[in-house]
Symmetry: C2
Subunit: 326 residues, 2 copies
Amino acid sequence: MSDVSEAVHLLEGSSRIREFLRQVLRFQPVPLHSVARSTSLTVPVASALRRELEKRKLLSRKGGIVLTEHGLSLLESIGVRETQIPGLQSGYPFPEWLNPVVEKLDILLSSRPGPDFSLDQSHADTATIAMRAAYLYEHDGIEGKDLLFLGDDDLTSLATITFAKKFGLQLGSVVVLDVDERILEFVEETCVSIGCDIQTHCLDLKYGIPEQLKNSFDTFVTDPPYTVTGLSLFVGRGIEALKPGVGGQCFLSYGSKNPSDSVKIYASITSMGLAIQEVIPEFNSYVGAQIYAGVSNMIRCVTSEGTSALIPEDLSTLYTSSRKQR
Amino acid sequence: MSDVSEAVHLLEGSSRIREFLRQVLRFQPVPLHSVARSTSLTVPVASALRRELEKRKLLSRKGGIVLTEHGLSLLESIGVRETQIPGLQSGYPFPEWLNPVVEKLDILLSSRPGPDFSLDQSHADTATIAMRAAYLYEHDGIEGKDLLFLGDDDLTSLATITFAKKFGLQLGSVVVLDVDERILEFVEETCVSIGCDIQTHCLDLKYGIPEQLKNSFDTFVTDPPYTVTGLSLFVGRGIEALKPGVGGQCFLSYGSKNPSDSVKIYASITSMGLAIQEVIPEFNSYVGAQIYAGVSNMIRCVTSEGTSALIPEDLSTLYTSSRKQR
């Protein structure tokens, strides 16, 4: 399979191709986006891979992707056969009782500003941001807590406020930072309309955060740009904003990367002294986002005694668009 | 709360005490082991914490731990009130269809050797090892794969073989390494009785693994000793045993540590170039184990292009017993 792997420049290696074929076997006929999702490939890469596997007569299409006889016998030769084993349930299934929050958000956010792709914006859907709020509550990130949203085109701040209001939870101070003025205006207007307090600051995290916001928060929530530099910058600023001491919380949404980039990401997180508590694949779903098969991980961390921000020196490749230009 | 934190030498800081009280509020009256589990505290630490909080008249006992009036108003003063929000489902719930595997294992393992605590052995229960096998299958760690079990007092190898047999899966070679001859004998005898192939090697990982086992496996499974050194040694040897290339698999069970030790653990994992794919709290339950509230995380990783073993130089503090002696 290594020729296929080279043909699609697949950093994940041939094991990912095996997984791809195995997912088709388990769930055929299966739509492309579903295999992309379950193998953590982006839709364009999954599509290129399907094309190569079709060329080699391993796959064909019949109401979705299916294996050919040739594909079936290739899998059998490496030990993979059809079974009756059901898929395991995993992650955090969406609970019925959250539906009223989602309905409320669908109304509130109907006139939200569109995504600015140059800033790697792509909206998490309303079910996702409602689940983020429920997940924050589950892990004690809401009640009486001073909360910072670092970049919030997803509008998780509004989901959290809506959730808190619905269930009578008391929030500490809530602050939203973003470089996009449109988002901040929308957040402010919405908060006025529902009668809630929020503070917003328009700034570029490259240039630091204002002194009065440093050492001020119990919890930060972020879904940074899709680059290692972007992740390090956003997490570093988040750490600067947290109150000193052990147990400060970081709720970080981040797409699956190839193994080498994943190592860099987790190395960056641990080098700043954040302790990983949980990593949930496919927690976040995005509206129309193709780049990460429309899903990303939730990574929950807490601060340790040795937590301290490390801001990358070269910030020129913050967004994927800047990376492509180079 | 920082005086309580000091009184019980709680490295987790006062935020963990807040969580403790909040868990009592949500689920009172609640048994100690249940709060210990949900706050990732060991039972002895949770017990010491309860004592301190009782002394301060914040908690009392009434068919389990309950809050006093004083405790309720303390929580209210920091924003935490009683709500009707249900707990979120999370992790991998045990599926009905796995029950026959568990029943078979309960029979097979009824005469297993008892745990040797000097080696940090404590048995994962049979539901846990059956779930490990199902989780391996879910993430393509079984079919046609060459599998290494690095230390196996849990007998996950037998669970995997039983699972594979039950569902007609074809395994590659299966090898078990352990320093405890009793375990290897039991594994061998059981495999003879059910007519399955397995290889065992008795060795101390301190002294390396045999040349013929290096670069030989697709997947390794381990539940190392509860020290950072133990984790690094076992994971390092696992990496040496994996075939070169991207996408080799590591299924690692590891207890929750305080934030500083957690940072060290994940720093060790990433320094060896393993890419974290998923971290599931409370995946593993242990029979009678008190040290980690009877539960531990499942950490799933894959190899990257830069994966390479780093074996700690000082191996004198491999087991918690050796640590205590110093």
